[in-house]
Amino acid sequence: MFLFLSLLLAIPLAGALIVAFIPLRHPGMLRASAIAHASIALLVSLGLWHWFDPAYNGMQLSERFTWNSRLGTYYALGIDGFSYPMVVLTTLLCLIALIASRHIQTGIKSYYALMLVLETAILGVFMAQDWAMFYLFWELTLVPLFFLISRWGGANRDAAAINFVLYTMGGSVFMLMSLLVLFDSSTNHTFEMSSIASGAQLLTPGTQLLLFSGFLVGFGVKIPLVPLHGWLPLAHVEAPSPVSILLSGILLKMGAYGLIRTAQMLPQAMMILQPYLAIAAFVGLLYGGLLAWRQQDLKRMVAYSSVSHMGVVILGISALNPTAMMGATMQMLAHGLVAGSLFLIIGLLYERTHTRNVTDYSSLIQVTPRFALFTTLALLAAMGLPGTAGFVAELLTLIGGYQRWGWIIVLLSMSVLISAAYAFRTIGRLFTGPVRPPMSQLSDLTPFELTATSLLAATTLLLGCYPDPVIRLMTTSVTTFSATFSSRF
């Protein structure tokens, strides 16, 4: 068996090493080699589709080597219907982020190397089949992110970077404690996900609940669940735009992905917490949406809209039926694409205007029609217009949620309404109105930037119009997931 997953993990890492050895005299070569490695990673991750069997129930393309036998840790990788789409999303958004990094001029060597290390770490999180490895990669994402924010970020970058790391580490501590208790209780004392899961079944529901709460704090910071989201507005605003793309596009999904894995591991606790998770999801939906509406800063608006959109994911997961679960996973993909393209476009606009205040903009449709097209498309996708990926996700979640909770699910529609309010407000403010002198000299998207934006837009539309292949990819995992719970209702 060829080690595809290790190869995938190694490509960005190798890229980082190569970038580190290219002399600073050749910035173009540096950039090209980073983009080349990200592209190869994307191609390899897409190529995995050929070997991925959608009908197979369980981990595929698995690799397993003993790492430290005394600690019971393994180098174990594998993908299933939950992680494979996330892997593809990661490689895609990393490539987009690198393409959008043109304006980074200082310290480009370390910048590109850190970005590629970050890609490796994220891929590791999604592919790890051993909790120790998972935790390792989870923490490893913090290191490049800390430097990326604190070195290339905005005015308030130091506070943002520290804040981000402290929040995430604070959450990880609880996750680590839960992991250690689980390790202790597992019969053969390994960190392997499968053996820990079987060990967890023996615990009493009370203990399971405590352990789940530990994981929930760790992942809830990342997702983010509402009271734990304090790092998010600051980090998203202060981070350079390419990093914002990754933060919002993938880093948030790591939390949701971890929550899915935890729910598989501790189903009884999940059953007990189900209504509370749903309440948290509803609160996040409305809270994030209303605050997004209240923001003048475009990046903050997208950041808060992420809180709202991740509420859909949590809602879908907590409904515990296949339809809503499919909606949640689709929403993870859709939000990755939409938030990615919004941050990309806003970053490109900011490069040109040096303002993110929505009230400073006016009448861009005459000056920059391409910007207008892609921003409108992204914002419409953000509110889940039919024909975009968000619609499929929200519709599935709505149906699944209705099956579970009945009419309360109408709150989800409320949040869609609010998202329409800020989407149209933004479209109106950016593109219509009288022409203002400072906005009349902007240059439109360059062909290179156009490639990146249209790649994301095309994927969003493709997923919206023809979601079938991706749904088929995830069906087996989703039904297995919900079958764990349907027997307990």
Partner: protein, 518 residues
């Protein structure tokens, strides 16, 4: 064969209309040579329609009229069934043949008459649309199908009155005629509804069968509904004024619409409803009175007209009034014969009207002596008995006032409550923008959260509360607050550390340790 021919008569003109529409869309560049082709196509299809109807007639003569023929179901919803039925009895077939014949002649007349008109194609398109609709009116086997023809005929009438749409009067007259006709349409819909609920179906044959059992109330409601439609379409009193305004269209259209065909649609409907109307003497009496009044009105008014089309149309009114009178008196067959003959005669008169002045060797006759001598009547005739002003005072003015009041209510009460965009001081016109530029309207605020209406205000309040919570509790408390706490803890620890490094505290610590151990 006999069933197919009438459908051909309805669909052939519509096919031609469709063809003309396609030609309009795909060949936007006009060339005069196209007139010839359009003329040939239109004439050819009209001729085909006539031939097929004649063959149908021949079949009916030999084998007897087929009566109501059902060719399928248009739609069915619960108890409501609308079949695609044509009533191919003597009346239907005869009238359809007359319609086909008159339309063929009118088309032949129009081709040279409309030569080099800018709206040549448009005229024939609408004319074909109308011919199909008229065929549907005379052939329809139930009230819903007649309604279809009724509406299409109404719309094409509107379009042809406004043929010269660049003239304000033409557009106004078209509107007036169409809106008056809408009264009748409402009546027809009410009649259809009543037919469903009282007779259990909308077919003429169904209504005839159930007529003896229908209660007087039902029959009266049904009769009132359908007769409102009939009176409006045939321009009887009080609906008469629209038809004089309809003279604004090209003369061939006046001939076919108001001189000979559409004006008789009301009579056709009345004839179809004969069995039901026989159950309601009150409605019949009302028709008779209205018919008589219209006949007198048309006759007297026609005498006072100075232009040929106006006098012709009022003469038409007096004749249709007589037809309604015959119906009201129960002489339905007489009304049918009268209608057929009048249609042919009046079509000829109208088509002849443009050349009438050439043929006359003396000026047009003045109003008769006895009329001019009776001043009050003459004044009334010249003002067409103030029917239009009456209508304005009774219907238009109150409607306008009501609309005004509603507008005020909307502006003062509903808009502030709901926060409709009208209130959101958005600029919708250039004039508003200029006013804003000159400073008469304050510019819109640049705050992002700007909402109106009760729901909007509530959401805005909620959002502001959440925003304050977010700023003070989550961001300050969690973000920078966290940093401050860390700083303070760090300072305290530094202090303790520095204290511990001093010898006296070190010795104290060691001493304390010994004490604890011992």
């Amino acid at each position: 064969m006999a069933n197919l021919a009438p459908w051909l008569a309805i669909l052939l003109p519509w096919t031609t209309a469709f063809y003309l529409a396609m030609e309009r869309v795909w060949l936007p560049v006009w060339h005069e040579s196209r007139e010839k082709r359009i003329g040939r196509v239109t004439l050819g299809t009209a001729f085909l329609a006539l031939i097929s109807l004649m063959m149908g007639d021949g079949y009916a003569l030999i084998h007897g009229a087929p009566g109501t023929v059902v060719s399928g179901t248009w739609f069915i919803s619960g108890p409501y069934l609308v079949p695609l039925a044509l009533s191919l009895d003597g009346l239907g077939l005869a009238l359809a043949t007359i319609v086909a014949w008159i339309s063929l002649l009118t088309i032949r007349f129009s081709i040279p008459y409309m030569h080099r008109e800018t709206g040549f194609l448009r005229f024939f398109l609408i004319l074909n649309l109308f011919i199909g609709a008229m065929q549907l009116i005379v052939l329809a086997g139930n009230a819903v199908l007649i309604f279809v023809g009724w509406e299409i005929a109404g719309v094409s009438s509107f379009l042809l009155i406004g043929y010269a749409f660049h003239r304000t009067t033409a557009s106004r007259n078209a509107n007036r005629a169409f809106i008056t006709n809408r009264f009748g349409d409402a009546g027809l819909l009410f009649g259809i509804f009543s037919a469903f609920s009282w007779c259990g179906g909308v077919g003429w044959d169904q209504m005839a069968q159930s007529a003896p059992q229908v209660e007087t109330l039902g029959a009266t409601l049904l009769g009132v509904g359908f007769m409102t439609a009939a009176l409006a379409k045939s321009a009887q009193i009080p609906f008469s004024p629209w038809i004089a305004r309809a003279m604004d269209g090209p003369t061939p259209s006046s001939a076919i619409f108001y001189g000979s065909l559409m004006v008789h649609a009301g009579v056709v409907l009345t004839l179809r409803l004969q069995p039901i109307l026989m159950q309601t003497p009150s409605v019949l009496h009302a028709i008779a009175v209205i018919g008589l009044l219209t006949a007198l009105y048309g006759w007297v008014t026609a005498l006072g007209q100075s232009d040929v089309k106006s006098s012709l149309i009022f003469a038409t009114l007096s004749q249709t009034g007589l037809m309604f009178l015959w119906c009201g008196l129960g002489w339905f067959s007489l009304a049918a014969w009268h209608m057929g003959l009048h249609a042919c005669f009046r079509a000829w008169q109208f088509l002849h009207a443009p050349s009438l002045m050439d043929d006359l060797d003396r000026p047009s006759p003045n109003a008769p002596h006895w009329l001019t001598r009776w001043r009050p009547l003459h004044t009334a005739v010249l003002h067409r008995f103030w029917l239009e002003h009456l209508g304005d005072a009774m219907m238009v003015a109150p409607t306008l006032k009501l609309a005004n009041d509603i507008q005020v209510f909307e502006h003062r009460v509903v808009t502030p409550l709901t926060g409709l965009p009208a209130h959101a001081n958005a600029i919708s016109t250039l004039a508003q923008w200029q006013e804003q530029q000159s400073g008469s309207i304050p510019p819109m605020g640049y705050a992002v959260e700007r909402s109106t209406g009760i729901a909007g205000r509530m959401i805005q309040g909620l959002a502001s509360t959440l925003y304050a919570f977010e700023e003070n509790m989550i961001l300050k408390g969690g973000g920078s607050g966290l940093m401050e706490v860390l700083h303070i803890i760090g300072k305290r620890l530094m202090l303790i550390d520095s204290l511990l490094s001093q010898p006296r505290y070190l010795i104290l610590m060691i001493a304390m340790t010994f004490v604890i151990i011992l």
